[in-house]
Symmetry: C4
Subunit: 206 residues, 4 copies
């Protein structure tokens, strides 16, 4: 299978998942006496929505950066990508779970833990994909043969960050949740990774 | 990244968001004694559905008009576009909020305000995108180098209109909400903007 | 705008709308004593799901048949297409409305009427699109200049059928609803229209 | 119609259906005393989510394997594909049904039976599609004329497996449900089918 097919399907799943996050935001019913106060009290939902939205956005960018280098998709790549999509598609659930339980005195450790583990799992699959491409060079486009080596090393930043955040979630769930946002912002900011990948992959007008 | 990739993902998010608006419309349950009356009493939902549907439709058109001129997408453009999609993906929530609270004597100022601010934010990001393209001409296709200058000026109509509507929402939420519809209709009607852009960008059969 | 852009967005909206129909089907809760009986009693939901699914499927086919002939999309075509998508995106609501109220002694006339009017409106927009193309030949691909004339005549079958069904819905909602299914089956069966369109538009391997 | 059009729409429906499965997972409300225990007790939902996710993933792969060989789509192929999409789009419902009722002492036979029959129906339509292509060689791309003969034989593994699982569901619903997972895993593992199809269809960089 050509990678363009897989990218189109993955784009679809990620576009739907990122848009379904909005169901995390609840409409206060008309019995609410002060709408502004009530909306304000749901700030964990807005924060969770924002963090997950940006995180899926980054994953979409990373997904393209990776599959842009791939010429041919084999069965392992196909089903590892499906595992990646499984993680992304689960985020509307884990996001709503974390948002609902974030301010509860009991249970929030569990909720944030589930959220962090999902992010850890997804970022690990990205590392796995780069590792697999390093071992199976024939799947790559000729001009990108050298990319996986550096990309693999850099992609470790994801699982390592989320592993640390997951450990923090055991003791301090609120801090861990905020850190998920910090990690997302960090990945949005321009990094050497992107510039190197960009230099390696000069874009032409489409 | 080539702009076609970004457009495909943005199309997906906008197509899902525009279709999710339908969940704003509630089915009256079987205990309702007069279905026609009950459906009729929900006119704010239908009006909100219509306004948001047309508004997202216009945003989709504007999005293509802009990215048609772009040859290459850099990191800033990528994440500014993500901010745009964040706004559009939030509309099913803010639309339902405005529709639910439109006829309530208390709280409707807040609900309509949130709705108008979302539209103001989205249209501001469009202006920001044109401004960024004006400053980074190398991202444009050669034949469209002159577009951002005029497009930026014209795109200001969006944030300016919605800023005015937002101010009105503080005092007269019903009028402000109706004006959101008027602004949408105004953008649907053919304007000099479109014709000029069309002249600048002759289409060829696909 | 090239018609391929518009088709991709329309495909997205129609794909989401057709898949959201499934929310029309409710899971009986665990208090239900006989699951099989309870599922069986919801046959109007399954029937409505089936009719709307096939109807959107046909609309998708018709949409491609039409825009395959179009080389260039102008502003009128763009927003008339948006009106078409508005109708299609509303079907998950009107389908659920008809299914919920179909067996109720009061209100079912209203529910089925709303459903039939939606289908009438959508099919009318198709006729309108063909009529517009007949008047604006420059938007067509050269080899398809003669298509709109015959297509317009044939497309009238849609609004005419649904107008009759809508009238029947006033007196006999159950019969009208069943007729919506009959109309869908009729359009699925191969007709002279398709064959003629096929002869006019020989496909080449993609 | 060219097969690429049909594939894009089918991709859309499958991407939405696979992502909507997440609504099967419920957020425990704040009254829950032990969140971890409560989440754990919902294992049938996670299992069902996983099985259906992988199953739709496999169907997407099979769908492309089939339509990659098709040069031209006729009316029968178009509407048989619509029947396939109908089955896939129904899976979020049948999955939720099976998950909700899996541990109930009464009714679980019915729930699992509905789930298995859906999978049997979808896989049967795949076999039907290959059979139809065998009989209508002119729809195939020249280099793939020999594919349907072997593909048809292999595709029988689907309906045969699900027929057996459906029969088992009558007596032992839990075992049958687990077997749906086993069948999915079996199809994920590399098989002669894939390798043969791969040899027959050398991919080129996209």
């Amino acid at each position: 299978m050509a990678s363009s097919r897989l990218e189109a399907f993955s784009d679809g799943v990620m576009a739907v998942a990122i848009t379904l996050l909005v169901f995390n935001l609840k409409i206060p019913d008309l019995a609410t006496t002060n709408l502004a106060d009530d909306l304000g009290s749901h700030w964990p939902s807005y924060l969770a929505y924002l963090i997950s939205f940006v995180t899926i956005g980054i994953m979409w960018v990373n997904h393209h950066t990776l599959f842009d280098k791939v010429a041919q998709v084999d069965r392992t790549l196909l089903f590892t990508n499906l595992a990646l999509l499984l993680g992304v598609a689960t985020l509307p659930f884990t996001t709503a779970l974390a948002a609902t339980w974030l301010l509860s005195s009991h249970g929030r450790e569990t909720a944030v833990l589930v959220y962090c583990i999902t992010l850890f799992a997804i970022s690990s699959v990205f590392t796995l994909l780069w590792w697999y491409l390093l071992r199976h060079e024939h799947l790559l486009e000729q001009q990108h043969l050298k990319v996986p080596k550096t990309a693999l090393r850099r992609s470790l930043a994801g699982p390592v960050s989320y592993a640390v955040v997951t450990l923090i979630a055991l003791a301090a769930p609120l801090a861990a949740f905020a850190l998920c946002g910090v990690v997302a912002i960090y990945f949005v900011l321009p990094s050497r990774t992107t510039r190197a990948a960009g230099a390696d992959d000069p874009q032409r007008p489409s």
